[in-house]
Amino acid sequence: MSKHEFVKRYQHLGGDVREVKLQDSLRVSALAIKEEELLKRFKEQGVLVEKIPWTRFGYWIKSSPFSMGATTEYLRGYYYLQEAAAQLPAYVLDPRPNETVLDLCAAPGGKTTQIAHLMFNTGSLVALEKKEHRLVSLKTNLERMRVRNAAVYHMDGRDVKHLGLQFDRILLDAPCSGNYATDPAWFEKRTVKDLELSARIQRDLLSAALEVLKPNGVLVYSTCSLEPEENELNIQWVLDHYKVMIEPVRVNIGDPGLTKVFGRALDLSIAQCRRFWPHKTQTGGFFITRLRKC
């Protein structure tokens, strides 16, 4: 599919394609350092940051005299470099201390470390990663960010039932086709076949997650894709096949999920999901759903 066709497709869905200059962002680890103390150090070092109003500990990096991934504060786990929209799924999941939580596709660990911190390093956080080469980053980030409640498995999320565990909450930040805002060559790389393959894997992961979710448990599904096949249509598929209900994604940014896709009417509760069009949110493309198992 050409860029022109993607643009037409997005416009048909109420979106658009415009050039977006993504700002780097970080998340402060309030378990490791007081937020004010870190901000004071940034100021002394000439690092200019600005609060991201719709996150709790997120900051845009406006300017820095050095690489923010190579400072003592970074190495000591005081902050994590994380795209702004990607900071939201963990809040939407809202994990509580002492719960049993699953991060189904965990590497490189941005959301895993965030979940651990929201649990105050208590309870049990199980993190799975299928790709071996991504495990180094995951383990390094858990160690650097002082996570104490995680167990990491080299495992395909689709096999999670073999662990014999049931979870209070699950984050499925699914592998997806990505979006043009984070990859300038995105349009040249993608075909409809890619989207279909991606959607199939995502449905397998959703099924696997729902199988190990406790009754009344919460599943947050997110992608960094703008394609309805990987987002609203997958959620409609879940509603058609499982006893779940959609809960509102309470974030102060993004558009409601689409309830009409290419002429097909979807369940109206899908409007409670959030869809991030990059030209509107000035973030990467993103989609978040919160499901509760009935």
């Binding site: 003592t72 190495l75 000591r76 786990g77 495990l135 180094v136 160690e143 167990a151 014999g164």
Partner: protein, 153 residues
């Protein structure tokens, strides 16, 4: 290897060795629930990471470094410039303060101006161009692990 390391820093009682497990090159200390999880599955990382074995050296985690820095008195404090050079793997040629009266050959913890531990060095007397404090381990290891992975993949 972990026990030997803790002994070097008078910190044998920081960790209950019965709670320690080794998974490949990593050492962890576990809660009861994590022990239970470990008994019926095979995680590759679990609990509170204490550090990792790298050849004949033990590389402490940032948490363990912070633990031992609260107990081990032999420390050198460095300024911001030296801090960054040290984190890049360099020896130390100047310090702002020496604590705990280390002797030549003693291991010292290297602290930054915020009194945070950034690594370990071997003391060789007051540092100068001729006799620097020798770099042993620093927290820049976290970045180097990633680089090594990228080069391999």
């Amino acid at each position: 290897m972990l026990g030997k390391f803790l002994k070097l820093f008078n910190a044998e009682d920081v960790v209950l060795m019965d709670d320690v497990v080794q998974i490949k090159e990593f050492y962890f200390t576990l809660t009861l629930a994590q022990k239970d999880l470990l008994s019926h599955s095979k995680p590759i990382y679990i609990g509170y990471c204490l550090g990792k074995k790298k050849g004949q050296q033990f590389c402490p985690s940032i948490c363990l470094l912070d633990f031992i820095s609260g107990r081990y008195e032999k420390q050198v404090v460095v300024d911001a410039k030296t801090e960054w050079l040290f984190v890049c793997g360099r020896d130390i040629f100047s310090v702002t303060c020496v604590k705990g009266n280390p002797s030549e050959g003693d291991l010292v913890l290297v602290m930054n101006q915020h009194q945070e531990c950034i690594g370990i060095a071997s003391y060789a007397g007051n540092p100068s161009k001729k006799t620097p404090i020798k770099h042993v381990y620093d927290i820049g290891d976290y970045l180097r692990r990633e680089r090594t992975r990228k080069l391999k993949s």
